[in-house]
């Protein structure tokens, strides 16, 4: 399913102006707070009526201000996972989960309750009320509730933002399973590049109400204009080879082998690894006597000086692209130029565990 998103809406002091068509899979609306992400997703849900716009999921028209068409939210069949869960306090978890099914059309084929409950691990909670659940449990129930309403697509507005790191690590895999197992289109709002790296098929980077960049995550996340110089990152696809006794996991990538702090995926699985450009050190010669475990060899393809003292250097390592953020003084001192061979040094512990996720990203678009 493709989503045509053309929205123009004026707030005092802020204008949202977006016109994109998203391919199937998980589309992440990515940007700092105030960039218009939630406004856009609410326009898709019908909770906000934009001044001008046309929103269509394939041929199904949700909004067309030109033709005076506004489909009310309850007829859009969209499963919305909110930041704060928004479970109904007077209903049990089971009743919350089944709420949407009541209103789903007869011919819709909703997900099987047992399957969803199983996938989200919420079977022990079914008879409880939301008031007694932890933040992570609430969010899992909210995902299940959205999924069971037989939606055309899932919207998620920073569903992890209200959770601590441990709970985030608990919930993220469920979204990966939605992407890989349920293969329902997902529009996901986030300001975390780690979430983008793990989940996105397509990233739409929003800046002050406009689309700064759009494309696959490895492209957008390494784009200074899209994410800001400090947040530039590379996303590598990696296969887990083995877990070693000293707590490290060995992975292979097209750029070379990586050793990372223990990842949760089993050997053989393909995951995504996000490496922040600011965590990468460059060396002209293959370094010796260095504590860093990961040394990837590549060819410089681009050197882009920033506004400040830093520069972004992009290496081609095999088929992958790896960005490094170094000072312009270092670029000059090392005499770095495109076409040169260079070594990128990545400290194992610099890769945060939440930046490592299951990576069947391309499956949904196939």
């Amino acid at each position: 399913m493709t989503l045509q998103l053309s929205v123009r809406h004026r707030f005092p002091g802020f204008t949202l102006d977006v016109d994109v068509t998203t391919p199937p899979g998980v589309t992440v609306l990515f940007g700092p707070s105030g960039s218009g992400k939630t406004t856009l997703i609410n326009a898709v849900a019908g909770l906000l009526r934009p001044d001008h716009g046309r929103i269509a999921a394939d041929d199904f028209m949700l909004l067309d201000t030109g033709a005076q068409r506004f489909l009310p939210p309850h007829r859009r069949r969209i499963g919305y996972v909110f930041q704060e869960g928004r479970l109904f306090p007077h209903l049990t978890v089971r009743q919350n989960l089944l709420y949407g099914r009541w209103f789903a059309p007869r011919d819709a084929q909703p997900e099987n309750l047992d399957r969803v409950v199983d996938m989200l691990g919420i079977a022990p909670l079914l008879s409880r009320r939301p008031g007694a659940l932890s933040g992570g449990e609430k969010q899992r129930v909210a995902i299940g509730r959205a999924l069971l309403s037989a939606p055309r697509m899932i919207l998620a507005d920073e569903p992890l933002a209200a959770l601590d790191e441990a709970r985030k690590a608990e919930i993220l895999p469920y979204f990966e399973r939605l992407r890989d197992e349920v293969s329902i289109p997902i529009l996901y709002v986030s300001h975390s590049s780690a979430e983008v790296a793990r989940l996105a098929t397509t990233v739409i980077a929003l800046r002050e109400g406009r689309v700064a960049a759009m494309g696959p995550p490895e492209q957008v996340l390494s784009d200074v204009a899209a994410v800001g110089a400090r947040e530039v990152a590379s996303v590598l696809r990696a296969r887990v080879v083995a877990h070693h006794a000293d707590g490290l996991s060995e992975l292979t990538t097209a750029a070379g082998p990586l050793h990372l702090p223990r990842v949760s995926a089993a050997p053989g699985t393909v995951i995504r690894v996000q490496i922040m450009a600011s965590e990468v050190i460059l060396a002209r010669e293959a370094p010796i006597g260095l504590s860093a475990l990961n040394i990837l060899r590549g060819t410089i393809v681009e050197i882009q000086p920033g506004k400040g003292p830093a520069a972004r250097v992009v290496l081609a390592c095999g088929e992958e692209r790896l960005a490094a953020r170094v000072t312009q003084r270092a670029v000059a001192a090392l005499g770095l130029k495109p076409g040169q061979t260079c070594h990128a040094i990545v400290k194992s512990v610099a890769v945060a565990p939440e930046a490592v996720g299951h990576g069947q990203r391309h499956q949904a678009s196939e």
């Binding site: 939210p73 928004r86 109904f88 949407g100 209103f103 009320r129 008031g131 309403s149």
Partner: protein
Amino acid sequence: MWSDWANWLGPAEWQAVRLSIRVSFWATLASLPLGIFVAYVLARWEFPGKQVLNGIVHLPLILPPVVTGYLLLIVLGRRGYVGQFLDQWFGIVFSFRWTGAAVAAAVMAFPLMVRAIRLAIEAVDPKLEAAASTLGASRMWVFLTITLPLILPGIIAGAILAFAKAIGEFGATITFVSNIPGQTQIIPSAIYAFLQVPGGQEAASRLVIIAIVIAMAALLLSEFVARRVARLVAGS
């Protein structure tokens, strides 16, 4: 035991007590749907003239009850602006009937009922209602399955408050439907009538005790039920 109680009150007093309860019960029940609707409108809708509606709803609280009763007489009396048509077309007459007493009680109790329910509606997070609409519930279903259960404690509190207020209603009732024993003589007007005749104090004080007991019981019941329902609704 019960017959002792029954004999404690004279037949005229019993009549007034029974009528009071009947009038207040129907006044509360019949005005509840409108009360919920008006409370919802005042809590959730924005429209020009909202303050005017708010003022009209609260007017009976501030106006002298006699004025309210007089207005009811002009509008709903047998020759009133609306009353004459009700009589001609539907054969509905309020004046000097117990139904008229119920109308007067309902109008007087309405502000209290609306206030309690409005507060409850304002406490419901509109985000929950938005969530329900994304799950496919139309406005009506959102109201019935989300808003209504969540405001139930407020509705019960409002209804019981209105009932207690209706039991105590005097000025508007006596002005609109007079003070006819067995027809429109409720507890307060019966007390008033007993006090007008020599030796009526004793009957009057018995009714006073009844009035206090009913009012107290209503308040306690309202607290109790509202708390039970609130716990059920909050569900922790």
